[in-house]
């Protein structure tokens, strides 16, 4: 499986990739994006099976990236990994077509639950 990780923080991208491995979801092809605009471009050129995206990013934020993708008819499974964990943000994410929202700081268990919960990977 190919997973696109979008976050403007290099260390957070490393942590997301490390946590995926700790959650038992290692061995996937990982593609990294530094902002929402780059994420949209990479979804179109790399065709990942899953996007894990931060919410607040320069150039284009995560929710606008998701809305852009859905507006273009792209249905790639898309989950947020963000420090914005309020009910309002969760509702906006769901309304825009996100599969899940993992709040930072997160645990490997939270990743496993989110990924298996939406049937993206086997438990």
């Amino acid at each position: 499986m190919k997973i696109l990780v979008a976050d403007d923080s290099r260390v957070m991208r490393q942590i997301v990739i490390r946590t995926l491995r700790q959650a038992g979801h290692g061995g996937h092809d990982i593609v990294e994006a530094e902002n929402g605009r780059q994420a949209v471009e990479l979804v179109q050129t790399e065709a990942p099976d899953l996007v894990l995206s931060d919410w607040n990013m320069p150039e284009m934020n995560g929710i606008d990236a998701l809305l852009t993708l859905r507006g273009a008819g792209n249905a790639v499974p898309f989950g947020f990994v963000t420090s914005e964990g309020s009910d309002e943000m969760r509702a906006r994410a769901e309304q825009a077509g996100a599969a899940f929202l993992i709040a930072k700081p997160f645990t490997p268990e939270a990743f496993d639950e989110a990924l298996t919960g939406v049937g993206l990977v086997a438990s």
């Binding site: 964990g85 930072k104 645990t107």
Partner: protein, 164 residues
């Protein structure tokens, strides 16, 4: 709806401990400490948090040791990488970038229901000149939380959450 009357949430020690433990992947320990006074001899990093109208609502202050230890721990950098920073009296670029992410995620502590939504607006890393207005905010008395923090495997430092 009342506007302007809502108060910024002051996170308690448990919220700080849970945030740091989760983010750094190790069980940090906290104890209350006297207010942290930033000076040229005692440099500190300061994260500035604003609301949706860009009004500064809070700052989080980390002394140089905690800045270096937290920044190293989040990326699993070996302890010796922090020594040069402590000796030089400031953070290198990598540690400053890592600390930015620690304090960026720390914004979530303020964002409880019925409180203004805050986000990290700027980070002034330890060792660089601290603007006078930001320094003034670190000295605010009243609604603040002053803590000594032990990051297992690295060392201890000081952290203050100050509502302005």
């Amino acid at each position: 709806m009342t506007v302007g009357a809502v108060e910024t949430h002051l996170p308690g020690p448990k919220e700080v401990r849970d945030l740091l433990s989760g983010l750094l992947g190790r069980e940090v320990e906290l104890r209350t400490a006297p207010p942290l006074v930033v000076s040229r001899k005692r440099p500190a990093s300061v994260g500035v948090y604003v609301d949706a109208r860009l009004v500064v609502r809070a700052v989080i202050v980390c002394d140089l040791p905690l800045s270096a230890y937290a920044a190293a721990a989040i990326a699993l950098l070996p302890l010796p990488t922090t020594e040069a920073s402590l000796e030089a009296g400031g953070l290198d670029e990598t540690l400053a970038e890592n600390l930015h992410e620690v304090l960026n995620v720390a914004a979530s502590m303020f964002n409880v229901p019925d409180a203004p939504h805050l986000k990290l607006h700027a980070l002034h890393p330890a060792g660089l000149p601290l603007p006078g207005d930001v320094h003034g905010r670190t000295l605010t008395l009243g609604r603040r939380e002053d803590l000594a923090v032990d990051v297992p495997g690295y060392g201890s430092g000081r952290l203050s959450v100050v509502l302005t």
